[in-house]
């Protein structure tokens, strides 16, 4: 389960050394914006060796340079051989873009004896055209496991100001969630960029969750505990989900066709949501099915 993703600059040994201990579910080792053009070679070698030697337990995502740069193929040549969990291509604006990157990943997988299709992709969508084509991108290739909204570049492309209220990215957020869910992939929200404003971060993360985002990214380790909390099920949600399944079992035993809990009929969407809550709770260790028969489903 990915609730939080933390961006880390790819050419900073001190940060890469501690990347596994910063609390995020995934780490994004950045070869793009966080690395100066003169240090691209240095960063990709350092990231490659860090993945090999550090034994990261977090999910490892590597953000590569855009397809119109001279770096993206070299990035993949160095990085795929150490089998990161995911590649994050940047400024993705079409299905063809995704398929071009995917094909090159496939070549590298074959070259280095890695199982075909095992390295997944999380395209970073950060332009007006990319948002317009979000479903095309999300459904372009089996490697795509999630899509990701980059709010800063998106608003620059839209020629509008990025605000804390986020009105300017509301449509893009909704469009991204809709596209991702229609394509059957996860969807991640843009970072909250005010490092000191925790209240703003929590409200922003809650809002993103309410829209349907799977999780949220961050540029600061200090944001991670708040993001994890917002995107984790609450104790009450877990208990309700357990009660739903308990209720279904009792109804089955009694031969009842229609089931209700606390005066509300339990229908398919409620069961689906309860299952999602228990799966999420199980993924973060809040709930273990073996401890209870109630969660059998």
């Amino acid at each position: 389960m990915r609730r939080s993703m933390l961006f880390l600059p790819g050419n900073s040994p001190n940060i890469l050394l501690n990347a596994d201990f910063l609390g995020s579910d995934a780490i994004i080792l950045d070869l793009e914006d966080a690395v100066a053009p003169t240090e691209k070679d240095s960063a990709r070698i350092l990231v490659r060796n860090a993945i090999t030697s550090r034994g990261y337990t977090r999910e490892v995502i590597v953000r590569i340079n855009p397809i119109d740069s001279p770096y993206w193929q070299k990035d993949l040549e160095e990085i795929i051989k150490v089998k990161p969990d995911m590649i994050m291509p940047t400024k993705v604006d079409s299905g063809d873009y995704v398929r071009t990157i995917s094909a090159y990943i496939g070549q590298m997988e074959e070259k280095y004896g890695i199982e075909a299709g095992s390295v997944k992709m999380i395209p970073l969508i950060e332009t007006a055209l990319g948002v317009e084509r979000a479903f095309e991108i999300a459904s372009a290739d089996p490697r795509v496991a999630a899509i990701f909204l980059g709010g800063e570049d998106f608003t620059a492309d839209m020629r509008c100001k990025r605000t804390k209220e986020g009105t300017e990215i509301f449509y893009a957020r909704c469009r991204m969630v809709l596209a991702a869910r229609a394509a059957g992939v996860d969807v991640y929200d843009t970072p909250w960029t005010d490092v000191e404003d925790y209240e703003g971060l929590i409200e922003d993360a809650k809002f993103a969750k309410s829209l349907g985002f799977t999780g949220k990214s961050s540029i600061s380790p200090r944001h991670i505990p708040f993001i994890n909390e917002v995107f984790s099920p609450t104790e009450a949600e877990v208990q309700y989900a357990l009660d739903v399944f308990d209720c279904i079992e009792k109804a089955k035993a009694e031969g009842k066709g229609v089931v209700s809990l606390r005066g509300k009929m339990i229908d398919a969407p409620i069961v689906a949501r309860a299952r999602q809550v228990l799966e999420a709770a199980e993924a973060i260790g809040m709930y273990r099915p073996a401890d209870s028969q109630k969660g059998e489903r």
Partner: protein
């Protein structure tokens, strides 16, 4: 073969700064190493540098290295980057 002077890394904490320059064939590796942990780990750092150079096929070079407490993977990375740049492959 190292064709030109090159450098990699920084003097920031946990990093290592590596300068490399060409040397005459057969002259071997001339290494001038300083480190904030020279007394504790000097020989180990030198061994990692020499192993990395050997792995990259570098037999003759002049290196000036300033370590700021880098771990092995950082040492290997910065040496490799300096060698690639020195070979003109970067």
């Amino acid at each position: 073969m190292i064709k030109q002077k090159a450098h990699a890394g920084t003097l920031e904490s946990s990093d290592i700064y590596v300068e490399i320059a060409p040397a005459e064939a057969g002259s071997g590796i001339a290494l001038n190493l300083t480190s904030v942990v020279m007394q504790q780990f000097g020989p180990e750092i030198e061994a990692v540098i020499r192993e990395t150079l050997a792995g990259l096929g570098v037999e003759d070079a002049v290196l000036t290295v300033s370590d700021r407490g880098a771990v092995d993977c950082t040492i290997r990375s910065r040496v490799e980057t300096a060698v690639c740049r020195g070979k003109g492959e970067a």
